[in-house]
C-alpha cells in the first residue's frame, strides 16, 4: 500500500455530492480517508499544497476511447494510451471493441481488463462487441461477455445498421442488465461520405453525409428501445436534430443516454479548411448551428457525458488525400483542457463540466468511480484551471498525435493524477 497523501489548500470539487470547497483531503491505503479542514499531518504523509486555487476532482471517466491494441499497435498500445490518459487526468476508460480481433470473446474481455491493471494507472472497462467481429450480423455471446466483465455492447465505430439486429441486441442485452451503444449513422446514407453535407463539402468536392443520417438512426433506435424496453446509448452525438430527439425521448421515459466529444462543441466543419485530414472525424464535423446545439445540450443536461472519442492514428493514416485518410482524432490528453474551454467561455459552470467527465459517465456505465467520498477509491485528478498552454501535435503524451486541435491554445492543465492513491502523473 502506498503511503498517505494529504492534499491541503485545495479546491475540492465533487459534482455528484455537491461538494465545492477549499479544504483538505487525506488519502490512506488507496482510499479517501477523510475530507475537511485541519486534518492534521500524519507522519510520513506526502503533502500536496494547492495554494487555494488548484482543483482536486475525481479521476476522469472516459466512456469512449479506441485503443490500438490488439491489432493496431503501431497507432497506440495500451501502455501508451495509459500514459496519455494519466496525463489527461483519466483513471477509468471504456475501451471500444472494434479492434483486431474484435472483442467478441470472453477471453479478450478478461485480457483487456488485465492489461489495464498492469498499467497501474487506468482501469480499462471493456465494451463487448454487439455482433460477432463487429460485423453487424449475428449477435456476439453477450451473456458470456458480460460475465467476463464487458460493461456494455457496441460495434464501436460501425453503426448497427440492421433494425432487426439492433432490436435483438437491445432485447437480449436487457436480460443481462446491459445497454447497447450505437454509432448513430444510417449506413446507406453515410456510405462513402467524409464531410458533413453543405456548402463546404460542395466547394471542396468531398463526398458528404447529411446531418439527417444521424437523426434517422437515433429516431429508429429510440423507437426500438421503446419496443424492447432495452437501454440505448448514442455515442458522439453531433447534430441539433439528434439532440431534440433525445431530449424528447428522455421526457417520454425512454431509457436513453448519450455522449459527445470536444470536437463537436468546439469545432465546426470549417476546421477542414483546405483538406486538413486531422479534422477528418467520424461523425464529420458539423455546421456552426449544430455545434451551438451541442453546447446547449451540455448545459441543459440532455448530454450525459463528454468522452474523449480517442481514435489513435499514425502519420501515414493521415498523410493521404482527405477521403482516404483514416477518420478520428486523438483525445485522451486534451479531454479536460478542452472541456474547460467551455467553462472559460461561460457556457458551463465548472461543477457541471466536471460532472460530465466524472460521475455522470460513471453512472451511465454503472461503474464505481467519479466520486470524492470517504471510503471511495482514491482516483483523483489535480488541475490548475487557469494554466495556459498550447496543444501541439508531436508533443502530446502517448503515441497518437492526431489531434484536430493542433496549434490551438488551451486553458487548464492537469497537475497530477492518482490511481488508487498512487501518483501516476505529475
Amino acid at each position: 500500500m502506498s503511503a498517505d497523501t494529504l492534499f491541503t489548500g485545495i479546491r475540492l470539487i465533487d459534482p455528484a455530492a455537491g461538494l465545492d470547497q477549499v479544504g483538505e483531503m487525506l488519502v490512506r491505503g488507496g482510499r479517501i480517508a477523510d475530507i475537511g479542514a485541519g486534518l492534521g499531518r500524519p507522519d510520513g504523509a506526502t503533502i500536496i499544497d494547492g495554494g487555494g486555487s488548484a482543483v482536486l476532482c475525481p479521476g476522469l471517466v472516459d466512456m469512449r476511447a479506441a485503443l490500438g491494441e490488439p491489432g493496431h499497435e503501431y497507432r497506440e498500445t495500451i501502455a501508451s494510451a495509459a500514459e496519455a490518459a494519466a496525463a489527461g487526468g483519466i483513471t477509468t476508460l471504456a475501451a471500444l471493441p472494434d479492434t483486431r480481433p474484435a472483442i467478441d470473446d470472453p477471453a479478450l474481455v478478461r485480457l483487456l481488463r488485465a492489461r489495464g491493471e498492469e498499467t497501474g494507472s487506468v482501469t480499462i472497462v471493456p465494451y463487448g462487441a454487439a455482433t460477432r467481429g463487429c460485423r453487424g450480423e449475428e449477435l456476439a455471446e453477450l451473456g458470456l461477455l458480460r460475465e467476463a466483465g464487458a460493461v456494455a455492447f457496441t460495434d464501436g465505430t460501425r453503426a448497427i445498421g440492421s433494425a432487426r439486429t439492433m432490436r435483438l441486441a437491445l432485447s437480449y442485452a436487457r436480460g443481462f442488465d446491459a445497454f447497447v451503444v450505437q454509432h448513430p449513422e444510417e449506413p446507406t446514407l453515410a456510405a462513402g461520405g467524409v464531410a458533413t453535407e453543405g456548402a463546404l463539402a460542395t466547394r471542396l468536392g468531398l463526398p458528404a453525409i447529411p446531418a439527417a443520417a444521424e437523426a434517422i438512426m437515433v429516431a429508429r433506435d429510440i423507437r426500438l428501445a421503446g419496443l424492447t424496453g432495452g437501454v440505448i446509448h448514442f455515442a458522439h452525438v453531433s447534430t441539433a436534430e439528434t439532440l431534440a430527439l433525445i431530449r424528447r425521448a428522455k421526457d417520454d421515459g425512454v431509457r436513453v443516454t448519450c455522449d459527445t466529444a470536444p470536437p463537436y462543441f468546439l469545432l465546426n466543419e470549417t476546421a477542414i479548411g483546405d483538406f486538413s485530414t486531422t479534422a477528418r472525424l467520424s461523425p464529420p464535423l458539423r455546421s456552426e448551428a449544430d455545434r451551438l446545439a451541442v453546447l446547449a445540450a451540455l448545459a441543459d443536461g440532455t448530454i450525459d457525458a463528454i468522452a474523449s472519442d480517442h481514435q489513435p492514428r499514425d502519420a501515414d493514416d493521415k498523410r493521404l488525400p482527405f477521403a482516404q485518410a483514416a477518420p478520428g482524432g486523438a483525445g485522451l490528453a486534451t479531454l479536460l483542457a478542452l472541456t474547460l474551454a467551455v467553462v472559460h467561455g461561460d457556457a458551463l459552470d465548472l461543477a457541471t463540466a466536471l460532472a460530465l467527465l466524472t460521475a455522470r459517465p460513471a453512472g451511465v456505465l454503472g461503474v464505481e468511480a467519479g466520486r470524492l467520498t470517504r471510503g471511495a477509491t482514491a482516483d483523483l485528478c489535480l488541475f490548475d484551471p487557469e494554466a495556459a498552454w498550447r496543444i501541439e501535435a508531436g508533443k502530446l503524451p502517448g503515441k497518437a498525435q492526431n489531434t484536430p486541435f493542433d496549434g490551438q491554445p488551451a486553458e487548464g492543465r492537469v497537475l497530477g493524477t492518482w490511481k488508487a492513491g498512487r501518483r501516476v502523473f505529475g
Binding site: L204, L206, P210, L320
Partner: protein, 316 residues
C-alpha cells in the same frame, strides 16, 4: 533575400482564390500562343532543360496529350507516368510517389487524381510546381481557363455573360472550376440538372440552380454541357439514359430557349444521345467544342510558361 511571400502561387491547384488580373494575364498569354500555334512556328524554347512530368492516377487521353503537347512545344523534357490503381495497391502511397519524383528533380508536375485535394497534398511534399489536371470532384483549373479563353474569343468579354452549366454538377470538377472562374470575372452562372445531381447548397457558390432546362437556358449566352458518367445510372442517381436525355440532354428544341447566338460547349468526351444531341454538337454555327481542344493546348502552354518563370524568379 526578403522574407516576403511571392504575390502569386507557385502552383496551380484551384481557380478558387485566383484574382481577375491573374486570370486575365494567363488568358492574354494563352491568346498569343494560339496565334503562334496557328502560324505553324510551334517550337519554342522557354522550357528548355526543364522537366515536366505528367502524373496521371486516372486515365485521361485528352488532358494528358494536351499537357504533353504544350510542354513539348515549349521545349521541355516531357515524361508521362500513368500510375494505375494496381501499383497504388502495392502499397506505394502518394507521398512515396512524391518523394520519388522529387528525387528526379522534376520542375513541373501535372497531376490528375481521383481524390479531391490530392494535388494539394503533393504540392506540400515536392519542390516542383504542381498543376492540378483534375482532382476528384474538386477542381480542374486548366479546363476552366480554356473554356474562358474560348468564350472570351467568341464573345469578346468574360463579364456580364449568362452561362448555363448543365448536367452532373455534383460530381463535376469542371463545373466547380468554371463556377469560380466565371463568377470571379463578373458573369452570372446558372447550374441546371436533376436534383440528385445538384450538390447541397450549391447556391452558396454564387450560382442560381435550376431543375428545368427551359427555365435555366432562357437567355443564356453560353451553354456548357457536362459529361454524364455511366455509373450514375447504375448508382441509381439517374434512372436511365433515355430519361436523362429527354429532360436534360441538349437538343435543338431546348437550345432554342437560349439566346440565338449562344455558344455550345462540352469538355469531352461526349456521350452523344445522352447529354447532347449530335445535331447540336456538330453544328458549326453553335458548337465550339473542337475549338475548346485547341484552346486547351494554348492555355496549358501559358500555365507552364508562367509557373516556370515564377519558379526561376523565386530561385533567384
Amino acid at each position: 533575400m526578403p522574407a516576403t511571400k511571392p504575390l502569386l502561387s507557385r502552383h496551380l491547384l484551384a481557380i478558387e482564390g485566383m484574382h481577375p488580373p491573374e486570370i486575365a494575364a494567363l488568358l492574354d498569354l494563352a491568346e498569343s500562343y494560339v496565334l503562334l500555334n496557328r502560324s505553324g512556328k510551334t517550337q519554342r524554347d522557354q522550357l528548355r532543360g526543364r522537366t515536366l512530368i505528367n502524373l496521371f492516377f486516372e486515365d485521361s487521353t485528352r488532358t494528358r496529350t494536351s499537357f504533353e503537347l504544350a510542354g513539348k512545344r515549349l521545349g521541355a523534357d516531357v515524361i508521362n507516368m500513368s500510375v494505375s490503381t494496381s501499383s497504388v495497391n502495392k502499397g506505394e502511397t502518394l507521398i512515396d510517389t512524391a518523394a520519388t519524383l522529387n528525387a528526379m528533380n522534376c520542375d513541373l508536375l501535372v497531376v490528375r487524381h481521383a481524390q479531391s485535394g490530392a494535388p494539394k497534398l503533393l504540392a506540400e511534399e515536392v519542390d516542383a510546381a504542381v498543376i492540378n489536371a483534375g482532382d476528384g470532384t474538386h477542381e480542374h483549373p486548366t479546363q476552366a481557363l480554356l473554356d474562358a479563353l474560348t468564350i472570351r474569343r467568341r464573345k469578346g468579354r468574360l463579364q456580364e455573360l449568362t452561362v448555363a452549366i448543365c448536367g452532373d454538377i455534383a460530381h463535376s470538377r469542371v463545373a466547380r472550376s468554371n463556377i469560380h472562374l466565371l463568377t470571379t470575372m463578373g458573369s452570372r452562372v446558372r447550374v441546371i440538372g436533376p436534383p440528385t445531381l445538384l450538390p447541397s447548397e450549391v447556391e452558396q457558390l454564387g450560382v442560381a440552380a435550376f431543375t428545368d432546362m427551359r427555365e435555366g437556358l432562357a437567355g443564356a449566352d453560353v451553354v456548357m454541357m457536362l459529361r454524364l458518367q455511366m455509373e450514375r445510372m447504375s448508382g441509381g442517381v439517374v434512372p436511365s439514359a433515355r430519361e436523362y436525355f429527354r429532360f436534360f440532354g441538349l437538343d435543338a428544341a431546348k437550345l432554342a430557349f437560349a439566346r440565338p447566338d449562344a455558344l455550345v460547349m462540352h469538355p469531352g468526351p461526349m456521350n452523344r444521345g445522352v447529354e447532347i444531341d449530335s445535331a447540336v454538337a456538330d453544328d458549326p454555327a453553335r458548337s465550339v467544342i473542337r475549338e475548346q481542344v485547341e484552346m486547351g493546348v494554348a492555355v496549358r502552354m501559358a500555365v507552364l510558361d508562367t509557373l516556370a518563370r515564377r519558379q526561376g524568379r523565386n530561385e533567384r
